[in-house]
Symmetry: C2
Subunit: 329 residues, 2 copies
């Protein structure tokens, strides 16, 4: 650990000094034509189109520094955006990072964040890299990442293409990140304040659940793989399977009929839990690619957009916006 | 004006309701293959590359709601990013908007912001449109915009290509936005608190200066035009001409020798003033395109990166990060 004098507060450094420290942690990207340092970056778009998405983490509603370090936040802010690119069937090519930081934070926090961004790309989307960003000051730590991707000549896989008779399938975890969040909120608070996790207090399975919440590892490579295998519809499961499956069903004007037995040991949690960043996709019957597991079938649109074991699903997904006050503790 | 009951607080609405209100204000883009509503957008990239940049406005260091309404903020957050794309010689194609909003703000604030984004695109970069975004809650209003652009088959114009003998030129205002900021900070505060601008208290020229600060109109179309005309280097002047010209000189390993007489009636303000978003460019002698005015020449690198009337320039640019405390009033 550096001493305090070796790890200055951001407010005591110039923007240029901070940016140089961050950029020294970025790795070159396979698709980067011009990287950080000019007015804008230039990224290869071999398909003559670019997939683009943005997602923000805000201290308070989205994370707590008592539970997440800089590395975790860099990793998670990359991962959630990489998953959105993958869900279109595209290969992530570049990240842009808009960082608003309190002056009291230490330099090591943002260099760890840069490490987390780089390592998430290396682990989840090799070839993708941070190509640009922006640094501002704010009393509320905010990380807005934009991810770009290339379709490799394919058409984007939207939420709207599921057809009756297709198989409903998923790649990645369902409900594990929500389990981790429940452990954090339930057991690592002092009154309303989050306190650091003591690993000695964790039961079997809980470290993995907390890791799924703080450093999610969505199956990014399976997005373009599913697209090449003929996925008819696909989306990132970020607000819980129940809510997101309804969205896919509505966009495709079909009913998704799930098998409860395929949803693991706790189907309720699999349906309700948010922030999994699993990939939900539909495929023509008989065309299920490796990495995906069948969880149901697509039917003609009925009275209900979503069924589980032929019954309506009354689990409500997670709206972080509306739920913020309740979750703020 | 809607009544309060017709203009609910954001905290009383769901994320979906707010997004629908915002998206109803966006216009279709000429380059949009797939717009808002899926996991990511798809934008045409006919040059098989994409120019990308991100810039954030944070309440406090970057704007005050007493001076800027939602429309102003939407406009400015678009304009500053469009200018960065233009400075590479690219044509803006798409914006992604990550918005973090306090729950107490009214719905009309974000719909006005959407109007400002749309109108800035229409006025400054026709064909460019908002293709996606993200909405979160935060106690600090934060607007992070990512802009994408296409090089139309050209190579990007970086800061590094200026050659001795080139002409130094600029398109757009120098120092006007800083003048506007000085009027706001100097005359429209009650103690430390910003108060709304009373137009009756403004002298001749001051409304234009305040407009340049709150709703900048950078010459976005002149960026690709300059690139086609053979610009050897180009950048957006956002931190003041003195600081930004030094950056271009350093990247190109040359000295920029400016003519004070070409910098208008107040050369000091033109050199120091930030947030102009003018385009600074260098061109081969004799190739100055319409819209640009000559302000100096490129020389072999000497002891000083920047000269004005053959003297070193001791004006320091504006570092909003370091200057935040002083400017917070």
């Amino acid at each position: 650990m550096p001493t305090r004098s070796e790890d200055p507060r951001l407010g005591d450094l110039s923007e240029g000094e901070i940016l140089r420290a961050i950029l020294s942690r970025t790795a070159p990207g396979a698709h980067t034509i011009l990287g950080p340092g000019d007015d804008a970056a230039v990224i290869a778009a071999p398909s003559a189109s670019v997939v683009a998405t943005t997602d923000t983490l805000v201290h308070g509603p989205d994370f707590r520094l008592a539970w997440s370090g800089g590395y975790d936040l860099g990793w998670k802010s990359a991962a959630v955006n990489l998953a959105d690119v993958a869900a279109m069937g595209a290969r992530p090519t570049a990240l842009l990072v808009a960082l608003a930081v309190p002056r009291a934070l230490r330099l090591s926090f943002v260099t760890s964040l840069a490490d987390g961004l780089r390592e998430a790309c290396a682990a989840l989307a090799p070839g993708c890299a941070v190509v640009g960003g922006d640094l501002t000051v704010s009393d509320v730590l905010t990380i807005a990442v934009t991810a770009l991707g290339d379709l490799e000549g394919r058409t984007a896989v939207t939420r709207a293409g599921a057809r009756p008779g297709d198989v409903v399938a998923v790649a990645g975890e369902l409900g594990l990140a929500a389990h981790g969040l429940a452990v954090l909120f339930g057991r690592f608070r002092d009154g309303d304040e989050p306190v650091p996790v003591d690993p000695a207090l964790l039961a079997e399975g809980e470290p993995a659940a907390i890791a799924a919440q703080l450093r999610p590892a969505p199956p990014v490579g399976l997005g373009p793989y599913a697209a090449a295998a003929g996925a008819t519809a696909m989306m990132d499961v970020s607000d819980g399977l129940a809510l997101d499956a309804r969205r896919l069903a509505s966009a495709s004007d079909v009913t998704l009929a799930l098998d409860g037995a395929a949803l693991g040991s706790d189907p309720e949690r699999a349906l309700a839990g948010g922030e999994d960043h699993a990939l939900l996709a539909t495929f023509p019957a008989g065309a299920l690619p490796a990495g995906f597991r069948r969880i149901g079938e697509v039917r003609l649109r009925g009275a209900e957009a979503l069924l589980c074991d032929d019954l309506p699903v009354d689990v409500v997904g997670w709206d972080p916006y509306r739920d913020w006050d309740a979750a703020a503790g």
